[in-house]
Amino acid sequence: MNVLDFARAFFSDSAHWHGYDGIPTRFAEHVGFSLEALLIAAAIGLPVGLVTGHYGRGGNALALIATAGRALPSFGLLVLMFIWIGFGLLPVMIPLVVLAVPPILVTTYEAIRSVDPSPVDAARGMGMPEARVLFQVEVPVALPLILSGLRTAAIQIVSTATIAAYVSLGGLGRYIIDGLYQKNYEKVVGGATLTAGLALATLVLFWAASRLTVSPGVRRSG
């Protein structure tokens, strides 16, 4: 069987385009969870990464936390949180945030650490307070790497958010799980295509963001 045929059948069925189980609703739900998880993860990972990177302390502790975070199985955590908490968004947010914090945290830390020390020293020599050293010297230089950490996290979230459907939430995973139980491959392929498309769109969005925000002097190739 041809995957493209399934995809075509899925997208050409008008029933898939409206209502609570329609593509627009499911897509919006998926983007909703993903954004929320990314924002929470960034709110945790960015400040901790910036501060530890700036002072150059806690690298080993961070590496440990990151390894532990990566090793925790998202799917297992989802089921466990569901058993403990019950219905709602929280059991889904916890595994997604746990998944996304390590790449943001570690990359931010390393990005700040790897900034060339001479301009940083020069800034200090000019009498800049630490906060300005961090935000006006280190962050602009480290921005491409910091964004790459956020990008990795975002893509993992988009792809992993599909498992939310297992605990009865919406999102694009709904099509994949429903298709599995209904033995309806159109839905599975449709859901997978939409999710992969969203992940790639995320990639493009981050590429655009880095073009816009990274100062031309810092821009690196590749």
Partner: protein, 302 residues
């Protein structure tokens, strides 16, 4: 790149097969030799029934392997058709609705006959048990109170209410005749929305209890119905039909002795017994295999 994916597949495949032969822990996917492979769907009652069948066969000296919790009928029917499974606990009405959307048998025997007519030629049914476990449309206590629904109310009484109610059930319910499709065509119900949960399992029980859904598909043998004062609605148009527990068998995979053992099980299995055994597994947290063995022993089938 396709070649690359293929190479990876091949590698993973080869290495796994190589390992399988040396590892007694992993069951082969095909029913081989004299071993009878008993499968079950992804809900606890199915696993319990599979354990009962398997242990009854073992008691007659037949080699048994289990493949529990596989998935929905949409999947398991395919697996038994290609011989990956030899025995599967089934429910006659649900199986018929899966095979023939328009069938409306009047008796349990007529159901069996109708199934046999549509069944794949490699499959056959053994005798049905008296035990029935139906799908249902069940509402929670709050909904029943709000709309004055009682045990005497029918699914049809929801006609004007359905647009305000969320119904929850397993994902496959959405596409089944014994599901949203039939509720619309037989009773004319269109619910506000459908929430995909699980096959009468913990998700569904929890969702109905917490009013995340107002109506749900629970099995009529579910102990939470009486515990939570849920109300099972009458089904006068027999959408959910007869649901006798009945073994579905891949022809040739089961000896006459084996078939006789399962017929003996079905002869003793009635609805009260099934409800009792379900309660032991789901409410008292006993292991289904222990429950199955204990019952076989008490019924003199071990």
């Amino acid at each position: 790149m396709v070649a690359l994916a293929a190479a990876t597949a091949l590698l993973a495949g080869c290495s796994s097969k190589g390992d399988n032969s040396g590892n007694p822990l992993t069951d082969d996917s095909k029913a081989s030799g004299d071993t009878v492979v008993v499968g079950s769907n992804n809900f606890p009652e199915s696993t319990l029934l599979a354990d009962i069948y398997g242990e009854a066969l073992k008691a007659k000296g037949i080699k048994v392997a289990y493949k529990p919790n596989i998935g929905s009928r949409e999947t398991t029917y395919g697996l038994i058709k290609n011989g990956s499974l030899s025995v599967l606990p089934e429910y006659n009405g649900a199986l018929l609705a899966y095979l023939d959307k328009n069938a409306k048998p009047k008796t349990a025997d007529a159901t069996t006959t109708a199934i046999e007519a549509k069944l794949d030629s490699k499959l056959t049914l053994l005798k049905p048990a008296a035990a029935q476990s139906k799908d249902s449309v069940t509402v929670n206590a709050a909904t029943a109170k709000k709309y004055h629904l009682t045990e005497k109310s029918s699914i049809g009484d929801l006609k004007d209410l359905a647009k305000d109610l969320v119904i929850g059930a397993s994902p496959e319910f959405q596409a089944r005749q014994q599901g949203l499709v039939g509720l619309k065509s037989v009773y004319g119900l269109e619910f506000k929305s459908f929430r995909a949960l699980d096959a009468g399992g913990p998700l569904t029980q929890e969702a109905l209890k917490k009013d995340a859904v107002q109506a749900a598909d629970l099995f009529t043998t579910d102990a939470t119905i009486s515990k939570e004062k849920f109300v099972v609605l009458q089904d006068p148009k027999n959408l959910f039909g007869f649901e006798n527990v009945q073994p579905l068998v891949y022809k040739g995979a089961l000896s006459k002795k084996g078939a006789a053992a399962l017929d003996a099980v079905s002869a003793k299995l009635d609805t009260a017994t099934l409800l009792q055994l379900d309660t032991e597994v789901q409410a008292q947290h006993k292991d289904p295999l222990d429950v199955a063995r204990a019952w076989l022993k008490s019924a003199g089938l071990d």
